[in-house]
Subunit: 361 residues, 2 copies
């Protein structure tokens, strides 16, 4: 990652210095924070990413509606500065408990609930243009990886090709990982852990010289950062493999273009070059999996209708697939491929799709 820890400290320091300057000049201390509400979220067609627009709000100390949040922002900023200084990481929940205090002589708490401290972290991310992970705040880890890659992490050399059936558990702070060797032609991201295990057991990553990443459902920030780094630093194509339903397709679009709730970090954690390898509804019919489909529920159809309208799904291939799903009223899981044999996915389906470049954009 380009940003070193010192940059974060610098940014945190300059936030504090600006406030001090305001105070010394007798001004109302304040800060400007880009707005994250829907009205300021834009899909950038050029970068293929969700991003924030230019609208900002001002948070100042001498404003009854702002002063508590102002205090909270500085508390969190100071906390993060000490994390960087002490070189430790912690979860956002631990931070909440650590900062929860009652002001002496009052009944007023710094924070009453974690739902008050969480958005402050995002405010700092946006305001300082840093990632939560660089502020040393961890998110829940999820995801596994295997492949011909050697990394250095916290002093250990780790070979992703020599981790047995287990794979390497992706931590939430992968921006500190140093790549020592990356020998792969592409990255295959798979939504389902069971699918990861099947491909891993068949040594798919070895046979096809790729890096295999299992996200276990919606990709965690750590997994998304890792995919982004492998794509941008090593120019590896990224193929995403999810269930054939609106939920799976959205998982793909989040990896590719970011999500609305994290639009402010899309440019740093999404992978615009990612392609979708499957499952499509077309696959279901092509590979004769009709017996293994699931009837789409009302909520699936509704979600499909929403995807149809998203700007980043305005591509003829996707419009066709989503409409086909609505028309047929079915969806299917990755596991449905097992109907054609347990090794069908690793020996036929994926290799053929990759060979024929049958991807959705």
């Amino acid at each position: 990652m380009v940003m070193v820890m010192n940059d974060v400290t610098k940014k945190l320091n300059s936030l504090g210095e600006d406030i001090l300057n305001d105070i010394e000049k007798g001004k109302n201390p304040g800060m400007e924070i880009p707005i994250r509400s829907l009205s300021n979220i834009i899909y950038n067609k050029k970068t293929k990413q969700l991003t924030l627009g230019n609208k900002k709000l001002k948070r100042s100390f001498f404003n009854v509606a702002h002063s508590k949040k102002f205090m909270q922002t500085l508390l969190v900023a100071a906390f993060c500065k000490s994390l960087v200084k002490e070189n430790i990481h912690t979860s956002i929940r631990d931070m909440y408990y650590n900062l929860k205090r009652t002001f002496p002589g009052s009944k007023e708490n710094t924070f009453d609930q974690q739902s008050e401290s969480d958005p402050i972290i995002v405010d700092l991310e946006v305001m300082l243009n840093v990632l939560r992970e660089q502020l040393r705040l961890t998110t829940d880890r999820k995801g596994i990886v295997a492949g011909n890659v050697v990394i250095r992490d916290r002093g250990d050399l780790i070979d992703w090709s020599k981790l047995g059936s287990g794979g390497w558990s992706i931590p939430s702070t992968v921006e500190e990982v140093e790549f020592k060797k990356v020998d792969a032609d592409f990255v295959l991201v798979i939504e389902k852990n069971a699918g990861f295990e099947r491909l891993h057991e068949d040594k798919f990553w070895k046979k096809h010289n790729c890096i295999l990443i299992g996200t276990g459902g919606q990709a965690a920030r750590g997994a998304r950062l890792l995919i982004q780094r492998l794509s941008s630093e090593f120019g590896l194509p990224v193929y995403v493999f999810t269930d054939g339903d609106p939920y799976g397709w959205y998982i793909y679009s989040v990896i590719k273009s970011g999500s609305m709730s994290l639009a402010h970090v899309s440019d740093r954690i999404s992978t615009p070059n990612a392609k979708f390898i499957g499952l499509t509804i077309t696959d279901i019919f092509k590979f004769n999996l009709k017996k293994c489909t699931i009837k789409a529920r009302e909520v699936d159809i509704k979600r499909a209708g929403e995807l149809l309208k998203y700007e980043w799904f305005q591509k003829p291939e996707w419009q066709k697939e989503i409409n086909l799903m609505i028309e047929k009223g079915v969806k299917a899981e990755i596991e449905a491929l097992s109907h054609r044999g347990l090794k069908f996915m690793s020996q036929t389906y994926l290799p053929e799709k990759i060979k024929n470049k049958e991807f959705l954009p």
Copy 2:
């Protein structure tokens, strides 16, 4: 693990041979399956484990109520035999899709839903006295481990002390893991991933010469098997660290005594010698964490009342704790310890509890 794969094949073969014998003798082919309903689940005070009683049901072919299930049982058994033979693993969902067929000339499916094939697997586990994992069926993986341990898994040598911030992701089939070196005084099992990361970063396992296992909530079968193996094969004490609430305490009891839904495998995947290290409600008051408690909801109080009645919570120490929770109407998370400082858990709370042997039974 004591059982080699050949034993599983032998058991599957003998199931088939018994059926063949019945047919050759002109008898109604049948099998006997231990009953798994509540009425046949017993808490064995001596082994401290939930287990099945002696009640059995007979499933036979010439019985309209049984014949479909009889057919399904043999289908699943044959499937598992081929998994063992081909030396591959698969998920129970993949199995369902693989076995789903329509009988030629009829509209009858082998299985209509996965809820039909799942219980058949358990039937086989009980009937043959094998684990699902030995039948080569995987469950969802969850859990991470770090420590001074070297294992061999699928041909790779893996050093749990050299995996950076990531740790080793525990697969669902750990009975094939071969321990090459185990240098530890105890096993610390922690419910929360965030807690695992904090302790891992502070190198708790190095400083205290232990194996650190994060279960990420309710422990998956793979994690429970791993804990059981470390306890039984290396005589390591096991300390379980969960949130201070009925849900956390139940996680502990499942690791220690097994669960009702898996009572038939308790003797093989639970760890009766496990002890509970925290959080207790007493801790909350002792360590002045009152500000970081959460008001117990009605459902918490109800669940606490249920725990009070379970045979395996009939110990004065537990009765006192659970009653204290109900009386005070509060619960607390592991993260609440961060109120006393981010390193309080790793430098004070856990070391002191271990030193003073402050465990609940």
